[in-house]
């Protein structure tokens, strides 16, 4: 308790000096709201992938890299998939946030609700936060769950 009192006395003077000198001053920054979206890239093309990052008996993660699609910072990777390569009916999408300063973007999409030891075919695309597609041309790839 004595130690506490000593600390109280010692710190009181320093804190008083500090605080009485700063109250009422103005901060150097003010907040801005979310910035307007960047202008969209003319073409969004895949530079790496798409490929299977990981899988287990019921889910998978698909990964690819494209040039930065720009547009809204809030973005989604989209995987269209199914067991028949000519009839891809299921859609999975995962949220990412673009980095305005990066020349390219890594997309990763989690696909859940899969059947074990089953081969799935898929294509990929990306889309803005409001649902506007980026128009990525994707090959059809496949993976098999465990």
């Amino acid at each position: 308790m004595n130690g506490f009192l000593v600390r109280v006395v010692v710190t009181a003077a320093a804190v008083m000096l500090c605080l009485t000198s700063i109250v009422g001053q103005t901060n150097p920054y003010e907040a801005t709201a979310e910035l307007p979206p960047m202008s969209k890239a003319a073409h969004v093309h895949i530079t790496q992938g798409p490929s299977l990052e990981s899988t287990n008996s019921s889910s998978a993660i698909i990964r690819w890299t494209s040039n930065n699609p720009r547009g809204t910072d809030e973005h989604f990777g989209v995987v269209t998939y199914g067991t028949d390569p000519k009839n891809l009916t299921e859609i999975a999408k995962s949220h990412i946030r673009l980095n305005r300063n990066h020349p390219y973007t890594v997309f990763r999409v989690r696909v859940d609700g899969l059947q074990p030891r089953t081969t799935y075919y898929y294509t990929v695309d990306s889309m803005e936060g409001n649902g506007t597609r980026d128009g990525v041309k994707s090959p059809i790839r496949h993976f098999t769950t465990r």
């Binding site: 700063i22 910072d73 946030r97």
Partner: protein
């Protein structure tokens, strides 16, 4: 009709309490509420609560001296401006409120009891941060469900808005953004209106209780100088003191949200006082006493500090390979490409405010933390209040729950937002990275073992115990996923190192992170950079020297706190075994 029912309720309330029960300044009969299985409540909880209360009282006394040291403001002109010392007055008023324990029902809990300056105005008790993660309220030991968020820079968040272009929510305060700022246009102000009446926190039964207690506060003259002489011209009923000394949720209130019977006119006045309480606290939070922009990083931006090699490497990873600044915006106009870390940074000016947040929300896929106190508060306390009847089945859906006006959150003020609840489930606010590493100065090792370190808690449920773990989680969440609960990682793995239990909310997982490909050394470099965001480098951080507890030592940052992990099954089996 409404007034009549209120009066009737008051009579019933008085009868229930009895004439000999409570007078102002006394505490009602209460027994300790401890529904927790062994291992949840820290063994030093009582001494630590007492320690924090001493520190709170010390800072309150300091604030009183500061108040008396400034010249009273002079209302001038019309609209009336509090000339010369108006800004200082409202900021100090907010500080006086923040450290006032008498606002709580049992005069034992201030706002700052969960938000102390040496922890960047977040949780001040290392053992609570290590175990139950939520802080005990005025009624011991009711406790909430989430970690205490830092005040720092929270007042810079804009009012919650749905941005249709981005298809996402931005702004608000609290982990679930439920303090929207829809009315006061200041989320931080509306945030401060929550805990005083949250039954698991301060637990006042009526917002009028805060008005009543402010009318008795030693700093009432300052309040009236700032907000008007007639602020407290309210006829409080004789039973106000006894009502306000009984915690919210008590069965005796019969579910009433307004047990203090006020006339409509007085209720309006009281609501105005409560708004002014909120705005004063927000003024304090936005002041240089809390959010001062005095970090190494600010000095770096001003060209007055050169980052060390470790800090610079961490910064380049933060905005490069780690991609942290996609959400924790750093305000620089350029960044090294992930594949070209040696690129010259030509950015010299901030292109956005460097608040290290995008004001948005994300579901990072954190595992459920079975140590969270909320899961065990399934039995009634001595006031007949049961905090969480759902027990372990409770799931924290964050923003989605709020948008539905769901369980243990605010009502949503905008029904058009409800449609976005399913795509917002699991999302929690992206806090600023500023001051994430701020600790008492005597804990020279920072937040991480081997220290000497100050045990903090990270993210909304405190599952993460060190900054090393925090970065490692972002880096490897999808590298080491296991379909298990905490405490059940397979043999041969180490939880939080090579095993991440299942996410509490699997939908809407953010995939910006999860497999970043950072090396162990690179993780450490990002931690080194995060420390440059601590305020107090260019100017001492106010009141940071008030910590009188001890620092911890030993162990390593990767497994910090792992010795406190308990089996979820074991905890569930123990839950309910004890009662109040």
């Amino acid at each position: 009709m409404h007034l009549k029912s209120l009066s009737l309720g008051s009579i019933v309330f008085l009868m229930a309490l009895g004439v000999a029960m409570i007078t102002h300044g006394q505490q009602p009969p209460s027994t300790v509420y401890n529904p927790y299985p062994p291992g949840i409540l820290p063994t030093d909880i009582n001494s630590e609560l007492a320690r924090v209360l001493r520190e709170v009282n010390f800072i309150e006394a300091e604030a009183i001296r500061q108040w008396h040291a400034i010249k009273p403001p002079v209302p001038t002109g019309n609209p009336p401006i509090l000339k010369d010392t108006g800004v200082a007055s409202v900021e100090i008023l907010g500080k006086l409120m923040n450290f006032d324990k008498n606002i709580s029902p049992f005069n034992n809990t201030a706002c700052s009891s969960c938000h102390m300056p040496y922890a960047a105005f977040s949780g001040p008790i290392p053992s609570v941060n290590l175990t139950m993660i939520a802080y005990p309220g005025s009624e011991h030991f009711r406790a909430g469900k989430r970690t205490a968020q830092r005040y720092t820079y929270s007042s810079y968040f804009p009012p919650l808005q749905y941005n249709a272009t981005q298809g996402a929510f931005f702004g608000g305060n609290f982990w679930d953004s439920r303090a929207t700022g829809y009315l006061l246009r200041d989320p931080a102000a509306e945030q401060s209106q929550g805990p005083p009446v949250d039954p698991l926190e301060m637990g006042n039964p009526d917002t009028a209780c805060i008005t009543y207690k402010l009318s008795l506060a030693v700093y009432r003259p300052l309040f009236e100088e700032v907000w008007g002489k007639g602020s407290f011209a309210i006829s409080f009923p004789p039973n106000t003191a006894s009502i306000c000394a009984t915690p919210n949720g008590a069965a005796v209130f019969g579910g009433s949200a307004t047990p203090v019977a006020l006339s409509p006119e007085d209720r309006t006045k009281s609501n105005n006082v409560y708004d002014h309480w909120a705005q004063s606290l927000s003024a304090f939070e936005k002041s240089l006493s809390v959010s001062p922009f005095t970090s190494k990083f600010d000095a770096f931006l001003a060209g007055k500090y050169t980052l060390t090699a470790e800090e610079k490497a961490g910064y380049d990873l933060f905005r490069g390979k780690g991609n942290c600044n996609s959400c924790h915006l750093d305000g620089r106009s350029t960044a090294p490409a992930p594949t070209n870390l040696g690129a010259v940074d030509t950015g010299v000016a901030a292109d956005v405010t460097p608040l290290f947040t995008c004001f948005g929300s994300a579901n990072l896929g954190l595992p459920k933390n079975p140590r969270d106190s909320i899961y065990y508060e399934t039995t009634p306390d001595s006031f007949g209040f049961t905090p969480n009847p759902a027990g372990f089945t409770y799931t924290d859906f964050g923003l989605g729950e709020f948008l539905r006006s769901g369980y243990a959150t605010f009502a949503s003020p905008n029904s058009s937002w409800t449609q976005f609840a399913p795509t917002s489930d699991g999302q929690m606010q992206t806090s600023t990275a500023r001051d994430v590493a701020l600790v008492p100065p005597q804990c020279t090792g920072g937040t991480d073992a081997p220290g000497p370190y100050f045990q903090k808690e990270f993210f909304h449920n405190g599952y993460i115990k060190s900054l090393k773990q925090l970065v490692h989680f972002y880096n490897t969440r999808d590298v080491y996923p296991f379909a298990v609960e905490s405490g059940h990682c397979p043999a041969g793995t180490v939880e939080k190192v090579t095993c991440w239990p299942s996410p509490e909310v699997p939908q809407n997982m953010d995939m910006t992170v999860g497999k970043l490909g950072l090396t162990d050394a690179e993780e450490n470099q990002i931690v080194a950079f995060l420390k440059t965001l601590n305020d107090g480098f260019t100017t001492p951080y106010p009141d940071i020297n008030t910590y009188t507890g001890t620092c911890m030592t030993g162990g390593n940052a990767s497994t910090q706190g792992n010795n406190t992990i308990l089996s979820a099954e074991e905890l569930r089996a123990g839950a309910g075994a004890r009662s109040h």
